[in-house]
């Protein structure tokens, strides 16, 4: 096989992924590291990469400690309840106590935050502050780029594999990737690696399957790389059965938080009923979480879903009622409310504004449909999939601590943002903060472990041949068919993506099966995804753009398989509204208020699943 040239980069700390958590890691690591070489690698350009590239209309994780609004304890209580009793309290608390520093810095760097007349931040919810956030990502990227220096930022490089140490497979050594727009490999040799890449959209078949496949709720660029990189080297993962199913405006997937919290709008069914009222008794089945305030997100989904299943839709967000009420008949007030309503979408989900315009919806006159979206597997927003990591030394107890905050079970491999499991509700500011936490710990690790990693050239060569194989496969077999995309010897990444999504949707409790599955269905799904993973060696790519899509599909497939195996292992329905086990339909705190962890063993091609105990470190829930 003829391979392109390789550029080898030696560094102390390698940050993979330049989203919010990656930018936080770059900024913080450079403050503490002095002369250490910190390198960041990103498949796009950090000014608009990652889930916040399009912008944001609110920061959803802010304590307001200086105003006395909330303590980190309050935040931990909220998160544990919203997760129906399962979150790592040490990790959640740690984000909460630090996050205000990050928000204040973002404001200092130029992020416009809405203010009250007295100069305090506006609030739209207990943890949420509204922002004029169209440029939150370029504003966050600038200090990251400046901190590490542009010469240490490698953009348009797609990282496909992690490298473990040639002398110790439980120790990290770097990563391998390829340039998307040049004929070139990159090998990064690093003493510590921080995984700050994304969670996974498009693992499940989305509701829009044509052009609209790109308009999924979580970023289409979020390809599960955080998990797809860590799982194959045997990193211990946690809560990979968890997913987030967002209730969002239909099709455009515009945000609903402002509508519920700031405009005080209701969602009503076609009979004009409010499911939070008509389904109030349903919450009693899920105590103690059912009586938490606010009602946990999955339970609110569940209540709405009961209406939908009974055929009481469409469900409409009554923007019309809310806006008329706020305007009180005053045209000037209506202008302000209209301005805010459109900004909510134009700052972060422009397609939803286009949906309004294209369907002649003026929100003050006409309500808008909401829907439960397809599932997403992530660790930063309302999902909690990710690596099992060490907590902070002063909080984590027992087997929750092993030396360095946010270090995974692979020595020197750290994670933040979507990559950290059991630590949800970080959102943009919390992910940025967790990147900072992980980076400081990584600097400490490198200062204690200064020796260079041992990287096997033969191993690198093997990985590079694997990376390049889809291009070779296409060239080798293209003559077997007169049609480029129909060939008995290979599949294209697009064909593979559709196949993965079909398995996940139909066997793994996707939208088309009412988010419901059971043991026989999951076992069948696992059989099919095992065959699919074998077939990934027959992926074909016509160019480097498609080669990137091939490796994104490989990462998404690791996520999908881990998800199915975890779904099978957890024998209860803990998060109704996210998914239902029809064979174990109830919440079972007595047996299942535990974390489900997994490790993949590459040598044996097998998965090992086990539980880890829940520890009340902060809360008494």
């Amino acid at each position: 096989m003829t391979l392109p040239t390789t550029e080898t980069i030696d560094c102390d700390i390698l940050i993979i992924g330049g989203g919010m958590s990656g930018c936080g890691a770059a900024f913080e690591s450079k403050y503490w590291s002095g002369d250490l070489r910190v390198v960041m690698v990103e498949k796009a350009v950090i000014e608009r990469s990652g889930a916040t590239g399009e912008g944001l209309s609110a920061i959803n994780c802010y304590m307001g400690q200086r105003y006395g609004w909330n303590t980190p304890e309050d935040y931990t209580n909220y998160v544990v309840n919203d997760m129906m009793g399962l979150a790592r309290e040490d990790l959640v608390y740690d984000v909460g106590r630090h996050v205000d520093n990050s928000v204040h810095l973002l404001e200092e760097w130029g992020l416009p935050i809405w203010k009250k007349d007295n100069g305090e931040y506006q609030r739209i919810g207990r943890w949420q502050i509204p922002i004029h956030g169209e440029s939150i990502k370029p504003i966050t990227a600038e200090p990251a780029r400046k901190a590490i220096g542009p010469e240490n930022l490698f953009e348009r490089v797609s990282v496909t594999h992690l490298l473990t140490d040639a002398d110790d497979p439980q120790k990290i050594a770097g990563a391998v990737g390829f340039a998307v727009r040049e004929n070139k490999f990159y090998v990064f040799r690093a003493k510590a690696v921080i995984i700050t890449c994304g969670g996974a959209s498009n693992v499940f078949r989305p509701r829009s399957v044509g052009e609209g496949m790109g308009r999924v709720w979580y970023s289409v660029f979020a390809t599960g790389a955080a998990y797809g990189l860590m799982i194959p080297i045997g990193t211990e993962m946690t809560q990979m059965e968890h997913r987030f199913v967002p209730t969002r405006f239909k099709d455009g997937y515009g945000p609903v938080g402002m509508w519920f919290q700031y405009f005080h709008a209701q969602v009503l069914n076609s009979k004009g009923e409010d499911y939070t009222v008509t389904r109030a008794d349903e919450l009693k089945k899920y105590e103690p979480y059912g009586s938490a305030i606010p009602t946990p997100t999955p339970l609110r989904n569940h209540q709405m879903f009961m209406d939908i299943k009974e055929g009481l839709g469409p469900m409409y967000m009554r923007t019309d009622i809310a806006m008329q009420k706020l305007a009180e008949g005053d045209p000037a007030k209506m202008d302000k409310v209209r301005d805010e309503a459109w900004e909510d979408f134009l700052d972060m989900t422009i397609s939803q504004a286009l949906t309004w315009a294209s369907q002649n919806i003026a929100p003050e006159d006409t309500p808008t449909e909401v829907v439960l979206a397809e599932p997403y597997i992530m660790g930063s927003h309302s999902g909690e999939a990710g690596a099992w990591v060490s907590g902070p030394e002063d909080i984590a107890t027992g087997d929750y601590f092993w030396g360095y905050n946010r270090m995974t079970t692979i020595r020197g491999l750290f994670a933040a943002g979507d990559g950290v499991g059991a630590a949800p509700h970080k959102f943009s500011s919390g992910s940025f903060t967790e990147g900072r936490i992980a980076a400081k710990a990584a600097v400490g690790y490198v200062s204690d472990n200064p020796s260079a990693p041992s990287v096997s050239d033969a191993n690198v060569r093997d990985i590079q041949e694997t990376i390049w194989a889809p291009l070779e496969t296409f060239e080798k077999h293209k003559g077997a068919s007169s049609a480029e995309e129909i060939n008995p010897n290979f599949m294209t990444p697009k064909q593979g993506l559709v196949r993965l999504q079909k398995i996940m949707d139909e066997y793994g409790a996707g939208a088309s099966t009412w988010y419901t599955t059971n043991e026989p269905t999951l076992l069948r799904g696992i059989e099919l995804i095992e065959m699919f993973r074998e077939d990934l060696t027959h992926l074909a790519a016509r160019n480097r753009h498609e080669l990137m899509r091939c490796w994104e599909l490989v990462h998404r497939t690791w996520v999908g398989e881990a998800h199915l195996r975890h779904l099978l292992y957890r024998k209860e329905t803990r998060w109704p509204g996210y998914y239902y086990r029809s064979d174990y339909p109830d919440l079972d705190d007595a047996n299942w208020r535990v974390f489900v962890n997994s490790k993949f063993d590459a040598a044996k091609n097998s998965w090992d699943l086990q539980t880890k105990p829940y520890r009340n470190i902060i809360t008494s829930i």
Binding site: E54, R66, R97, E142, S351, L354, T355, I617
Partner: protein
Amino acid sequence: MPTYVDPNACNACQDEHEGPLCVYICPNDLMVLDQDTKKGFNQEPEMCSECYACVKLCPEEALHVRGYADFIPMGAEVQPHRTEDGLRWNVRFRDGRTLEFTYQSRTKPAGSVVLFDGFTEDRQTELKNQSLAGDSLWLGVDKLPSPK
């Protein structure tokens, strides 16, 4: 097709150091330059999230979005125009109604960040404690909380 390029307006960013800016910025590697026509185009519309990064950056306003064929009725447009500190949006409904909004995006010019300005955390003695850089200036409370 979500984003599309008006060929009469696209000049392939001939004067831009980074080359065609839509190609430069696209977070999903979708925008490419047709080497024959020298016009940009979206090579994989079903992987476009209509994030508008390219539309916002195009110096010629040659980039537009035609909403997803799956669910967007035809005839509407949402088009941004850059202002000094944000964007002006022109919204045209399917029925011809129009709206205009102007929003600020940043309070300080790009490039003005001064790193670690006034930070006091000691790089040696505080490396292994729980502080983050800038806590003394930016945390907003005197002491980093720890569990009660």
